[in-house]
Amino acid sequence: MAQALVDNLRGEGYLVAFSEPASPKQMLMAIAEQFGLSTQTLEGKRLTLEALKLAISDFMFHNHTVLIIDDAHLCKVDFRHWLKKCRSRGGCHLVLFATHPPLSDIFLTMPRKRLAPLSGRAIRGIMAYEAKLRGIQLTNADFARLQASAGGNPALAIRSIEEEYLGVEQETADHKQFVVITSVLMMIGTLLVVLRFIGLGTSDRNLYILGGIGGSVFIGVSRLVYSLPKEGRRIK
């Protein structure tokens, strides 16, 4: 998506630099090169990190530029602080793409635009395009199955097509469009405890005993469910 934005802005004549997370020096070198700045001194030595930062920020201050960083949440903190300084100095337009960014430094000061999951139609379009690129024929049933694993995320949509192309069977999904309804089910389970009290109030011995047994089982099961380990963040 970041690349598409870069191409779009460049097409409209903007002076755009784009970088993905790397070491701060590599990122600054890439940005300087895209702005057409020299990365060497008069003696032919490479510019230091500080010199690069100064050169780029000066350039951005005096020119109408757009700096686009993908996966900005993975950039080093000092690089993000430099971005913050550049932005406060003015002249520079920053676009940062980040997934669940920390609520600090540059992310705290920039206006935020949350990207909603793509619509099913858009995801289908991406998947159809990717399938065509790889020369694989997929039926609507295949697309419907794979779409469920993408969950509105274009990167996952592409990945699902790659996995299909490679013949990797994947039933799990890595998107964040999940809602755990364990608590809702537990709430329904509490009705059994409510039944016990209804049985007590109406002198219905059956209801009282059944509600009591059901409630006890429910408490045991809920303890068991809540004691299950949380899912790790790593791919296993």
């Binding site: 099913g120 419907a144 469009q177 809602v179 364990t182 059956n206 899912e231």
Partner: protein, 353 residues
């Protein structure tokens, strides 16, 4: 999730929620459990309705709209509208709605989850850790399948014996369970109780089946082999109950008639109620000039009490009344309770009571 798992889950849910053991209703619910997968042409439902599957899979992701509360509401509306016009369809409408809902709800426990709140695109799952969610055809699913088969057999067995509450009553063997069954089925069936306890007269053991005649305060009036007993925990009861369970017996209706006698032969007045296959019990108060000594077995309820100038009858079997005071003249009001079996001869008959 495998198709057979869906079948079993929906079948069990249908049986439990509708409290039925009728195979056609359970089968309808079970098959409805396969319907949510109509959103893919690779499923049995999708192959059966390819044009619906074609439309859905072209627009929606798998486990999307067809696995949602919205879809359940649509299916429910269609089925109940159908049931509105044809009432025989009502249990099937309920079965389809329940089976369909549990069909997709079971997929909540799978890796991918379901879009329960469609048109919201979120997938509902349980539990949160995917490691503990089911994978189609995994060992865990086969273990679940084995458990489901066991649960299904148990549930269908329980429902065929009168339902969960009835079985529970049988388990705890409490009088409240007998009362509950008597209230539910007593107007159309004989209620056969199984009583374990002791005779209050000599403390000998009681373990047998009795026909329930009436519920009284803290106990029951029961009948077996020509004798009537009061069974309760009260001191004046003939049978002290340790445990009591009840079963629904053969089809029977109970009629209650009033009979006024004005100093006329008791036997002649009552003889018209004596019919083969009908149990008749007489209660009431009769004045009589002559007094007979009525023998009484201390094991039984004293159904005919003779005082100075009257007889008091309490659930006295007609045979016994005719034999004891049939020749006497009496005046007063009697209540005739007749239990008439309506089961055809081919149906199961009750135990010998």
């Amino acid at each position: 999730m495998l198709g057979i798992s869906h079948l079993l889950i929906s079948g069990i849910a249908t049986s439990l929620f509708l409290e039925t053991s009728e195979s056609s209703v359970i089968l309808t619910g079970a098959i409805a459990g396969l319907l949510p997968d109509i959103d893919t042409s690779m499923s049995p439902a999708g192959r059966m309705f390819p044009w619906v599957a074609g439309i859905l899979e072209a627009k929606q992701s798998h486990r999307g709209i067809s696995h949602s509360l919205f879809a359940s509401a649509i299916v429910g509306c269609i089925c109940y509208v159908g049931a509105f016009f044809d009432h025989w369809f009502l249990p099937y409408a309920s079965a389809i709605t329940i089976g369909f809902t549990f069909g997709w709800f079971a997929d909540t426990f799978t890796q991918g989850g379901v879009q329960m709140f469609w048109p919201s695109q979120v997938y509902c799952i349980c539990p949160g850790n995917r490691k503990y969610r089911l994978k189609t055809g995994s060992n865990a699913e086969y273990i679940l399948l084995a458990m489901l088969i066991g649960i299904a057999l148990t549930v269908f067995g329980i429902e065929s014996k009168g339902g969960m509450f009835n079985e529970f009553n049988r388990l705890i063997a409490a009088p409240s369970g007998v009362v509950s069954l008597y209230n539910e089925q007593g107007n159309s069936h004989k209620i056969i109780t199984t009583i374990k306890g002791t005779y209050s007269s000599d403390r000998s053991k009681v373990d047998g089946k009795f026909l329930l005649l009436r519920q009284i305060k803290d106990g029951f009036i029961v009948y077996s082999h020509g004798s009537v007993y009061k069974a309760s925990n009260e001191p004046d009861a003939q049978i002290v109950i340790e445990s009591i369970t009840a079963d629904v017996g053969e089809l029977a209706v109970t009629t209650i008639d009033s009979l006024y006698l004005s100093d006329e032969p008791i036997g002649e007045a009552l003889s018209k109620y004596s019919r083969p296959g009908v149990l008749v019990f007489v209660s009431g108060h009769l004045k009589s000039d002559d007094q007979l000594i009525i023998p009484h077995d201390s094991h039984e309820l004293e159904t005919i009490k003779a005082s100075n100038d009257s007889y008091t009858l309490e659930f006295a079997p007609l045979e016994k009344v005719l034999n004891a005071i049939g020749e006497e003249f009496g005046a007063g009001e009697l209540e005739i309770r007749s239990i008439i079996s309506t089961s055809p001869k081919t149906e199961k008959s009750d135990i010998d009571i």
